[in-house]
Chain length 127, copies 2
């Protein structure tokens, strides 16, 4: 059983970030800090079956294939997605653990401080 404790403030505000950690996180953040890559990530992650082939993605943009390929490579190099060739097509899927690292950085979910006095344990449904 996994229990998660909700705290009041974003981890980033709970102590100064070490230089090395900051550098590492910045690589991850740079990868998602682009409108095209954000949409790619979102399209891949929300696609049926948890994966999307490049051919599912290019149509949504006004960009050439090499450019989409370039953005996908940046996401993959950062470790956010993984790609696999099956026959003619290449399929990409999200690596949730890595995406979650980003969320964990800023995410208190609680905007104000929780009502209840003590930390709350919350359980989640299966993926």
């Amino acid at each position: 059983m996994t229990a998660v404790t909700i705290q009041c403030c974003a981890p980033i505000t709970r102590g100064p970030l070490a230089e090395g950690d900051a550098a590492e996180l910045a690589v991850l953040l740079k990868a998602v800090a682009d409108p095209v890559r954000l949409r790619l990530l979102s399209m891949i992650g929300s696609h049926a079956g948890g994966e999307a082939c490049v051919c599912d993605l290019t149509g949504a943009f006004d960009l050439t294939a090499p450019t989409i390929s370039h953005h996908l490579k940046i996401l993959r190099t950062a470790g956010l997605i993984d790609g696999e060739r099956r026959g003619t097509w290449v399929y990409y899927r999200i690596i949730p653990e890595v995406v979650n690292r980003l969320g964990a950085l800023f995410a208190p979910l609680a905007d104000p401080v929780p009502v209840v006095g003590e930390p709350v344990d919350v359980k989640f449904a299966d993926a």
Copy 2:
């Protein structure tokens, strides 16, 4: 009173991000996608009293004052921090609502695979 439903997957995977939303979020993400700015944000957010003057920050970096000022401006323009002059010094503080938007994007808080049950409603105090 605000109620938040915790779900299993990062919001970004729950549907393709609209073009406009992606553009808007990218601005925010670009602001934090830099090691210096990440550390600045973290130092400001974790500083006693919830605020830090520029003089508290510059010492931690091997950068000139204009460069630090430049990074602070980017964070401020993005809406992540706010600055106020009091006497000789300028004090910066985090704007939590905006930082939280970042967390909300990627954040399932649950790192390991979640356990049984249905989504849980958690209530927080109003701002």
